[in-house]
């Protein structure tokens, strides 16, 4: 049975069950089938740059090479940080309580999203305290690693007071672009919109 994640907010700890969700869970999915001119089924394959070599799914592999172009066994690789120092591995976030810190919308908006989880309470836990805090449009973050490994991802806890979600990803490298001029333009008629005005299911 999968382990539950323990979150800690203001010293209160609560266990949550994670369920990964994606677009298919919300709107269904679309598959493509293709046929040739004679009505025979067509399959997708990879064509190499030579224009002749066809490759089936699974016919390729990722290799690690050194500066000379020689293949290196993965066991010989050493993970280092940006300063070249060897990295200490991080523990799985399921092994200890995860302290939630208040986060800013701007930090979340710079996240390169990898996965989204729905958070549910266990039979023993109660998420009301968390929901109450999420109602006020607050969001929280903590470093997250599913299985443990070389580095943490960033996890953000958000919600609408009814349901809570955890969005996991990498903090993005945003650049502030420079130059020393600014225009002076007036704006068009502006209008506040509701999130309900947008359609997602037909996309």
């Amino acid at each position: 049975m999968a382990k539950n994640l323990v979150l800690s907010l203001d010293g209160k700890e609560f266990e949550v069950v994670l369920s990964r969700i994606d677009r298919d869970d919300l709107y269904g999915k679309v598959e493509i089938e293709a046929f040739d001119e004679k009505g025979r089924p067509a399959t997708l394959k990879v064509l190499a740059a030579d224009g002749k070599t066809l490759i089936e799914k699974g016919g390729t592999a990722l290799e690690v090479i050194n500066a000379k172009g020689d293949s290196i066994d993965r066991t010989e690789l050493v993970p280092v940080d940006l300063d070249g120092k060897e990295i200490t591995k991080v523990e799985s976030s399921f092994n200890a309580p995860n302290v939630l810190k208040k986060a800013e919308a701007d930090d979340y908006l710079a996240l390169v999203v990898k996965s989204v989880y729905l958070l549910d309470q266990t039979e023993e836990s109660d998420l009301q305290y968390l929901h109450d805090h999420l109602t006020g449009k607050q969001l929280f973050s903590f470093p997250f690693s599913y299985r443990g490994g070389l580095e943490h991802d960033a996890a953000y806890i958000l919600g609408d007071g009814k349901d809570a979600f955890m969005v996991v990803g990498k903090d993005g490298n945003i650049d502030y672009l420079k130059l020393n001029q600014a225009g002076a333009l007036s704006s068009n008629e502006e209008q506040e919109i509701s999130a309900d005005d947008l359609s997602f299911d037909l996309m």
Partner: protein, 232 residues
């Protein structure tokens, strides 16, 4: 990638779009501290896959023997070659196809097939004669983040002094509002954004930030709401 985008005054300009990448804090070196890189290599082409070998040799026993004896799964000329600039192609028993008929099979969330229809490949609409439209419709950041998942984020980049002014002003306006601007594309100016022909459609939002005389314009793309799926 380029985007033709209009400002609140319906003036448009073509600027660059770059993908937002996650901060990478780990890299791998070899035992001597030398740099390493990843490459994709060919294991076996379609003619050397097990199914083809099995067709030739009929029984699995014979296949096992021939695998040990002759290595028919290995193409000595090609196996291990670095793969770059690959493309995806449709293939039928007649070979590579240049004309295919595609259908979309649409499944409901319960897995049941709901519709089968000819595939419509929408053209990209971010860099055409019709600019992506500044709709003037704003949504507060805190509302947007609790309602949508931004599955893809890009950054708008100026390409010259004029477009610096153009984008800086946009970023400044948006930063003051502390809101995301809904963008729409297409002739009617009411369509979701399509980045590539036949690609996914996204609701696109523009966010602006300013720091001194520098700006950051983020294009947030969403095709998913942040909500509990039915039955979960």
């Amino acid at each position: 990638m380029a985007i033709n985008i209009s400002n609140p005054n319906n003036r448009d300009a073509v600027v660059a779009v770059e993908g937002l990448v996650g901060k990478r804090e780990v890299r791998y070196v070899d035992k001597k501290g030398g740099p390493t890189s990843n490459v994709r290599v060919l294991k076996a082409d379609a003619e050397h896959e097990l199914a083809v070998i099995q067709k030739k040799h009929k029984t699995l026993d014979k296949v096992a023997k021939v695998l040990v004896k002759d290595d028919p799964e290995v193409d000595m000329e090609k196996s291990g070659m670095f793969l770059t600039d690959t493309s995806k192609v449709y293939v039928s028993p007649g070979g590579i196809l240049h004309l295919v008929e595609e259908f979309e099979l649409i499944y409901k969330t319960d897995g049941k097939l709901s519709k089968r229809r000819p595939r419509e490949k929408k053209p990209q609409n971010i860099n055409s004669d019709i600019p992506v439209r500044w709709t003037g419709k704003f949504i507060k950041k805190e509302d947007a983040i609790s309602r949508f998942v931004f599955t893809n984020t890009k950054q708008l980049v100026h390409i010259n002094g004029l477009t610096f002014d153009f984008l800086f002003k946009m970023a400044e306006d948006l930063a003051k509002k502390d809101s995301l601007l809904l963008l729409r594309a297409g002739e009617g100016g009411d369509e979701p954004v399509v980045m590539n022909r036949g690609g996914k459609q996204y609701n696109a939002f523009l966010e602006g930030r300013v720091k001194g005389q520098s700006y950051c314009l983020l294009l947030h793309l969403s095709n998913m709401e942040l909500k509990r799926p039915e039955g979960k």
